[in-house]
C-alpha cells in the first residue's frame, strides 16, 4: 500500500514541474514589461532609469534558465514575491484571504453532498418518478445557468424583494446562505445525475439481488450495500471538479463581495499585479493535483481491488 502511495506521489512531480513552468512562462509571454507594470501599479512615473533599476531588481537581465531556477527555489519556499500594488509579500496577503474562500468552498461541498445524495438515491430507486424528473430538470438548469446571473437572481428575490438575507460581505451564517446556494447548484446538478446513474447500475448487480433474496429489508439493501459502491464515481467527480468549484468561487466572490482569494485574483488582473496572478494560477494547479491524489487514496481505501490490480501489474 505504501508503495502504491509512493508511486502516486512520484507521478505528481512532473505535473507540478509543468505547473511551475507555465507559471514562470506567464511573465515571459507577457507583452508588458514587468518593471513597467510594477511602476504603473505603484503609481510611479516610469523613467528609463527607474525601469532599468527595477529590471535589475527583478533579475530580468539575467539568463532565462537562471531566472527559472531562481523562481523554482522561491516557489518552494512559498515566496511569490511582493504585490506590485501594496508592496507586501503576496503569500501574506493570500494567507489572509484563504479562510474566506475555504469557508465558502467547504460549505458548498457539504451542502451539495447533503442535497444530492438523497436526491440521487431517490431518483435511482423510483426511476421515472417525480424525484427523477426533478433531478433531470435541476441537472439541465444547473449546467446551463450562468453562475453570476443565478447569484443576482437570488439577491433579487431574497434580499431585494423579501428582504430576508444580506446582499453582500462576510459575517454570520446569513451571509453564507446565498453564496453557498449559488455555488452549489452546478455541483448538485452534476452529483445527482452521477449518483443516479451509478446507483441504478449497482441495483442491477448480483450482490444486491443476493442481499434481497437473503430477505434483507430493501432500505438496508439500498443504503448499506448499493450506496457504498455507488458513491465511488461521486468521490472521483468531486476531486475532478475542484476546478469548477474554484472558478465558481471567483465569480461568486465577485457577485457577493466576498473577501476571498478569488476576488483578490480578479483585482490583481485589473491592476496587472503579476506576482498575485502567478501565485493564484500556481496554487490553483497545486490544489487540483492534490485533490486528485486525495481522491485516488480514498478510492484505494474504499476499493481494495485497485491495489490488487496494481500489484499484479508490477
Amino acid at each position: 500500500m505504501i508503495r502504491y502511495i509512493g508511486k502516486r506521489m512520484l507521478a505528481i512531480v512532473p505535473i507540478v514541474f509543468i505547473a511551475t513552468l507555465v507559471t514562470f512562462a506567464l511573465i515571459h509571454i507577457s507583452p508588458v514589461d514587468p518593471a513597467e507594470a510594477y511602476l504603473t501599479a505603484a503609481h510611479i512615473y516610469p523613467t528609463p532609469e527607474l525601469l532599468e533599476q527595477k529590471r535589475q531588481e527583478f533579475g530580468l537581465d539575467r539568463p532565462i534558465l537562471e531566472q527559472y531556477l531562481d523562481t523554482l527555489g522561491r516557489i518552494a519556499r512559498f515566496d511569490f514575491g511582493r504585490s506590485y500594488l501594496t508592496n507586501r509579500p503576496v503569500w501574506e496577503e493570500v494567507k489572509m484571504r484563504l479562510p474566506a474562500t475555504a469557508e465558502l468552498a467547504l460549505c458548498s461541498i457539504l451542502f451539495s453532498v447533503l442535497v444530492s445524495v438523497p436526491l440521487g438515491v431517490l431518483a435511482a430507486v423510483y426511476r421515472k418518478g417525480w424525484v427523477d424528473r426533478l433531478t433531470r430538470l435541476i441537472s439541465y438548469f444547473g449546467a446551463s445557468i450562468p453562475q453570476f446571473w443565478l447569484g443576482y437572481l437570488l439577491i433579487f428575490f431574497f434580499s431585494v424583494r423579501l428582504d430576508l438575507l444580506p446582499v453582500e460581505g462576510r459575517g454570520g451564517w446569513e451571509n453564507l446562505v446565498l453564496p453557498t446556494l449559488t455555488l452549489s447548484l452546478v455541483l448538485i446538478a452534476l452529483y445527482t445525475r452521477l449518483l443516479r446513474v451509478s446507483m441504478s447500475e449497482q441495483l442491477e448487480e448480483i450482490y444486491v439481488q443476493y442481499a434481497r433474496t437473503r430477505g434483507l429489508p430493501e432500505r438496508s439493501v439500498v443504503l448499506k450495500h448499493a450506496l457504498k459502491v455507488a458513491m465511488m464515481p461521486l468521490i472521483t467527480s468531486m476531486g475532478m471538479n475542484m476546478g469548477r468549484l474554484l472558478t465558481g468561487t471567483i465569480i461568486v466572490e465577485q457577485v457577493f463581495s466576498w473577501p476571498g482569494f478569488g476576488r483578490y485574483f480578479v483585482e490583481a488582473i485589473f491592476n496587472r499585479d503579476i506576482p498575485v496572478i502567478q501565485c493564484y494560477v500556481f496554487l490553483a494547479a497545486c490544489l487540483f493535483i492534490v485533490c486528485n491524489l486525495i481522491v485516488d487514496l480514498i478510492q484505494m481505501y474504499m476499493d481494495p481491488r485497485i491495489l490488487a490490480k496494481g500489484r499484479t501489474e508490477s
Binding site: S144, P146, V160, R244, I269, R272, V281
Partner: protein, 276 residues
C-alpha cells in the same frame, strides 16, 4: 416503419426543436443590423430607464439605449465569438492531435505531456491568468480560450488516430503510395467526425458561458458595445428599481446554453460517445 428505424428517430423531436432554436438565434445574430429596431449604442438620456412602449418594446437602459436592440446585437458577440473559439481550437486541436497520434514516438509524448500540463489547470483559471497577463479585451479572451480548449480536441483526435493506425485500410492506403498528409485528410479525419461533433455542441454552450462570465467580470467586451454578460453586469446597478435589465440577457444565455447542451447530450447518447 421498421423497428430499427423507429429507434433512430426516437430522440429526434428534442434535437429538431433545439436545433431550430439554435438556428433562430444564429439568424437573429447574423441579421442584427436589419432587424434591430434601434442603434444599440445610441444614447438618449431623455428616455433613460423607460418601461416597455410601442417604440421600445423592452424599454430602455440607464443611458436610454433600446434594450431589444442591445439584446439582438449581444447575440452577435456571444454566438460569433463562441463559433470563432470553437473553429480555431477545433482546427488547432485536430491538426496537432492527428500529428501526435500519427507520428507517435517522442513528439507524441511531448504533445501529450503539454496537454496534461494545460489540463492540470482549471479552465477558467488559466484563461483568467492569460487575460491578466495580456490585459482585458475580446481578442485576448479569444486567444486565451483557444489556448485552453484545443487540448481536448487534440486528445480525442490523437486517441482515435492511434486506434485507427493499426487497422488494415490505413496500411492499404500507405502501401498504395498515399502520403502521410493524404492519409490523415482522407482516412483519419472523416473517422473522428462524430465525437468531435458532440464535443463541439457541448463546447458551444461552455464557450458562451465563459465569454459571458469574463464579460461580467469586466474583462471581455468593453463598453459601450452590447454583450449579454456585460449587460447583466450593467443591469445589476439597477437591481432594485429595474431588475428586468439584468433578467432579460440572463434568460437568453440560459436558453442558448440549454439548447446546446440538450443537443449535445442527445447526440452523445445517439453516437455512444463518452463525454470528457
Amino acid at each position: 416503419m421498421s423497428k430499427s428505424r423507429q429507434r433512430v428517430f426516437k430522440g429526434q423531436p428534442t434535437i429538431v426543436i433545439c436545433s431550430i432554436v439554435i438556428l433562430l438565434f444564429f439568424i437573429i445574430a447574423a441579421l442584427a443590423p436589419w432587424i434591430a429596431p434601434h442603434d444599440p449604442v445610441k444614447v438618449d438620456l431623455t428616455q433613460k430607464l423607460d418601461g416597455p412602449s410601442a417604440e421600445h418594446w423592452l424599454g430602455t437602459d440607464q443611458l436610454g439605449r433600446d434594450n431589444l436592440s442591445r439584446l439582438i446585437y449581444g447575440a452577435r458577440v456571444s454566438l460569433g465569438f463562441a463559433v470563432m473559439i470553437f473553429v480555431s481550437s477545433l482546427i488547432l486541436g485536430t491538426l496537432i492531435g492527428a500529428l501526435s497520434g500519427y507520428m507517435g514516438g517522442w513528439l507524441d509524448n511531448l504533445i501529450m505531456r503539454v496537454c496534461e500540463g494545460i489540463m492540470a489547470f482549471p479552465n477558467l483559471v488559466l484563461v483568467l491568468g492569460i487575460v491578466g497577463i495580456f490585459g482585458p479585451g475580446l481578442t485576448q479572451i479569444l486567444l486565451a480560450l483557444m489556448m485552453v480548449q484545443w487540448v481536448y480536441y487534440a486528445r480525442i483526435c490523437r486517441n482515435m488516430v492511434v486506434s485507427l493506425k493499426g487497422r488494415p485500410f490505413i496500411a492499404a492506403a500507405r502501401v498504395s503510395g498515399s502520403s502521410s498528409w493524404q492519409i490523415i485528410r482522407r482516412h483519419i479525419i472523416p473517422n473522428v467526425q462524430r465525437p468531435i461533433v458532440v464535443m463541439a455542441t457541448l463546447e458551444m454552450g461552455w464557450a458562451i458561458m465563459d465569454i459571458s462570465a469574463l464579460s461580467f467580470l469586466g474583462l471581455g467586451i468593453q463598453p459601450p458595445n452590447a454583450e449579454w454578460g456585460a449587460m447583466i453586469h450593467e443591469g445589476t446597478s439597477h437591481i432594485r428599481s429595474h431588475p428586468e435589465l439584468m433578467i432579460y440577457p440572463g434568460i437568453l444565455i440560459l436558453i442558448v446554453v440549454i439548447t446546446f447542451n440538450v443537443v449535445g447530450e442527445a447526440l452523445s447518447e445517439r453516437y455512444g460517445v463518452v463525454k470528457r
